[in-house]
Subunit: 244 residues, 6 copies
């Protein structure tokens, strides 16, 4: 389908190997190491028995997400945000995206006045950290709710739909799926897509890095994203033992 | 085309009245009051004769954007970000979007070691402040470069393409163009689109507020955005006296 | 009376044109664009149905003020305070002055456990922004209380006295009224005076910019301020339709 | 002259005992404990061999001031500003006032590219801390320059004029000089005055705490300030051994 | 015992003169100027009638400490932490040490739901500021509790044991007691020791500045600390009139 | 030797299993996962080709350390320091300790004007995170210098001595080595010890959590630390292939 060689040798519509390691750390209600190839993110889900002020007394829950990168998860060391005293605009943008995406996955009215905190910490970055984070947080959150179900705290896992995310982009003129760092730092268009398991969209965020992109290209990218996300959701469900 | 009544009585594919008032304040090299209906944003473009550290000595320019809202530009008063000591994640996300969009409009290599600062300050908000800001900043920046051209500082206005932005969304099941506050606070899908004058995309940012949206809906929304942005770019050029 | 030519051609005891545009923006309970010549400040008055902690349960109200300048309201662009993460000492000094001045105008015990927030945002600066802000905030606050009166929330507008402010200074040896930027940046003594409608003082803040000033000069400056403020208060009342 | 009893038993035109203890701490180039009655402020003057960026290469010096209060210098403990992470508006206002006042005392062009840092730290507060600070900083700065003169670094002490400050106010209807805490917390009008040794004004900052004040009252207060400051300047010069 | 000359001429096991001046300032419940030679620290103890959130309703008290240095307490001026907007790591480390040490001295369960705030502010530094602060805070806290006892607020001073602190170190190969600045800035090992009046340890914090130190050296240093602290505790009790 | 049962069943002088996994992440010059039982810390060593300002032009290197905990590395979720905008006093204290300890291990004058950044991030906490961090950072730093040696950038690994750290404490009256969380949260005395491979001390930091501790106890604890650290250093060298 293409004469362009991807740095990884993958075909344009191939994901990197996607792995979910559950119970990665021991304290969190849900804890998942998600790997999209060499990108590795620890996603933990923590249940807290209270909600933010604006929800108090409404009988419903809340879900919020935070994102961080270890200083040397990247090729050259980044400053530590805790030491600088503020989170970058990029960090805030990503954690807002993770939060919105996961709030679409769960029924906030169905788990009482509790907050689910999702922490996504990148320990190794090779492109696609935000999409890996969303996909891993889905599994961690599911595990946390399973634990609550097992403990009898809730009657059912309040999942509305599975969500997962992937990046797509135009690398040397070729639309490709799931960009790694080499592609990401040299691509023309970069798009992050979040979908649910019916193939509908939760978020579409596309940016022309170099040239503006045409409607036809956008369509090719969305096709790639659709197939990639369907595959990731299969992986999520398999990791959780919901399908085999 | 639709049986849904928009609160403003507009048809689904109608923009609000779009106005650009140039030379709105007197000190900035470019100063524009942009109005999308009742949404009013002051966009100023300021030229500074230096570049950030990472560009020093490279002979090229830089363009950056900041965004703010007056505390009572909104229905209920918001806290002043300067008094709180930090900009919200939303603010940072918007100013990053404005910056990326406008960097697509101008050739940064063609105006020397200078920085163009775009300041977009909302004085009255009624939905669509970020898309109005992008559209107004385009005109303010153009004016600032015109001033430099007139002064002989540059040989040509370093414009690559005109850019403008509009919001689209699904209001009560109906895809509509250029949402006002009443629609925005009650819509299912919300998308901000930035395009250039050839009809290609600079940014597409769509979010499912309630239900996930289908590919067909996405396409309808993009159709609306295309026509709306083309109209806004006509308005920009007319305001600048480039067309009549 | 003087052989010194003011840059504006005004006589020493002349104000610039003072204008109050009410209902300048639509959301605030009171919203005024005040202009002292080319100095333009948006003053909004917002009513909030609660008071700070130290006043809870005391049955009285509170009034507080904030001040800001758009980054390019000035000749050269200033850094945005929200982006820097702190308000300058000058900003805090000015907003404390506005708050004290307006608390002298209204009877805080007469409008219930509510807070009146005054936001004064400079969109174009040409000297005298703080005195314009005080004078405009008076009108915005009056409008906000009128709205409450009309709604039956209060029985009377809790005004004790009208207040207004003006700057005076010594420009090239000549005491002058209402300094514009050219005078302000080249003057010897700079004084901001706040008075009420009986001709008594609320605040007197005089600073020797160059040489220390004599008692006689101080007296001449106060004479100028008295006449200027009386005129501004007439303007305020006329703008509010209280006199014709 | 009055039937009002001041809490201290002083007559209306009496200062509290004013004392300057030079060489109070050992490291600073100038170090003075200034006492206005029970108000005690440590004022140190430190010479640094560089100037702020905006003065580099101009061959002139700079003078700047900072002010602080020990948390329990006051009747009830205040939060430590270093722990809160910001200086209050009041603190910034006061340190700006001290800086302006002392810059009027010395010739900044006559001591080379050096910065004189004045630190005024209140260890016990009983009203009038800012006026004590200004008066003490004058002596500390003079001492620091004397040390430079003795070391041959400068040819003359770059003093233009001595400055000192005092508060005046209306206590129970009676204009009084040098308010202590009991008076200050119960007065109608509060004014801080800074003057030089010719009897001219550097700063006049008057505030109506309760009722607006009349011109006649202002004049009485200025009379009191004039006589008080003349006396403080005599004390400063005596402490420095310039007069006996 | 040694052929090394200490800069001060003291013998290796000699303290500097230790002085406690009680009632140093007038507002605090306890206020002590502690001097270890030329090191001078103002220690105040303030009683507040509430406890932090985590202790509310438990019927017990809390004790917390803060530490600061006046900018020119040192040889060269340090930046003011309040102006920088944050306390250094060193400051936080020291105030945590003071707090832990003093919480060992008093029975927190025996003075009701109150907080004792200890503020230790260095006005002149010559080495050993943290050990002087701990030793002085002990006396200030005792005084504050005495005042409460006298007022009948508590039935007994809730002291469990007296605590004091001293520094020891290896200066030019010689273990010495109570290092001054000249020794501190040129020593090999530096240790701060906090003990109670039975000769047991509260804190031991030793750091190899140059070479790692041997167990035998550690023992010599602890011997010196034991004798020094015993002497300081005698001084504390004498200052409080508990022994003569 | 004891009748006390440790929660883990270990004997009083037993370490938990200590493991060093080198090359844990791929970008850093040195990257080690260190495990002390269930405590897991990622230690990366990053070389940067510049030094802080105070060392510029001196031809020597610098080494600095930072420490963090993932929010859910602990039993209950902690707030993210980057989101709070500041590092806690505990965090700063720990990273200062790691920095001092590792600066004792390497010859800063022998690797040119470069900075070695050590980042220690706890992904799972079960007591002893700071001692694990120091021990792991030693291996990561060694690996980073090995890489520089292999690249010919330096002529020899600038190691002066190996350093490692361990905690010791008194648990239910029994001195024990290498406390886990259950012991740490219920112990009387807690001490962190850093030593080098000759058995000398770099740091000794002991705190009486409950009762003050006697000299004899201190000696028992130091004996335990000595043997534990010797064992950890063997592990470090074995992990690096320096011994077998």
């Amino acid at each position: 389908m293409s004469t362009i060689q991807r740095p990884s040798g993958r075909s344009p519509n191939s994901l990197r190997e996607v792995r979910f390691t559950r119970h990665f750390t021991q304290h969190a209600e849900g804890s998942v190491l998600v790997e999209f190839g060499a990108t590795k993110v620890i996603c933990t889900a923590s249940i807290e028995d209270k909600v933010p002020g604006f929800l108090k007394g409404k009988g419903q829950g809340w879900l919020t997400a935070e994102y961080g990168m270890l200083p040397r998860s990247t090729h050259t060391r980044m400053d530590r945000e805790a030491a600088k005293g503020k989170q970058s605009g990029r960090t805030q943008e990503i954690q807002r995206l993770i939060g919105r995406s996961l709030r679409a996955a769960f029924d906030l009215e169905a788990f009482g006045e509790r907050t689910l905190h999702l922490d996504c910490d990148v320990i190794q970055a090779d492109g696609g950290t935000r999409t890996a984070a969303i996909s891993g947080a889905m599994v961690a959150a599911y595990d946390a709710f399973s634990k609550m179900l097992a403990a009898g705290t809730i009657d059912a896992i309040p999942v509305k739909q599975f969500v997962a995310a992937v990046s797509v982009g135009v690398y040397r003129g070729q639309p490709v799926l799931d960009l790694d760092y080499l592609e990401d730092s040299d691509c023309d268009t970069d798009m992050n897509v979040v979908m649910e398991d019916q193939g509908h969209f939760i978020e579409v965020q596309g940016t022309a890095e170099g040239h503006a992109f045409e409607r036809a290209t956008l369509n090719q990218l969305l096709d790639l994203a659709e197939s990639g996300i369907a595959e990731i959701i299969q992986n999520q469900k398999r990791a959780l033992g919901l399908i085999s």
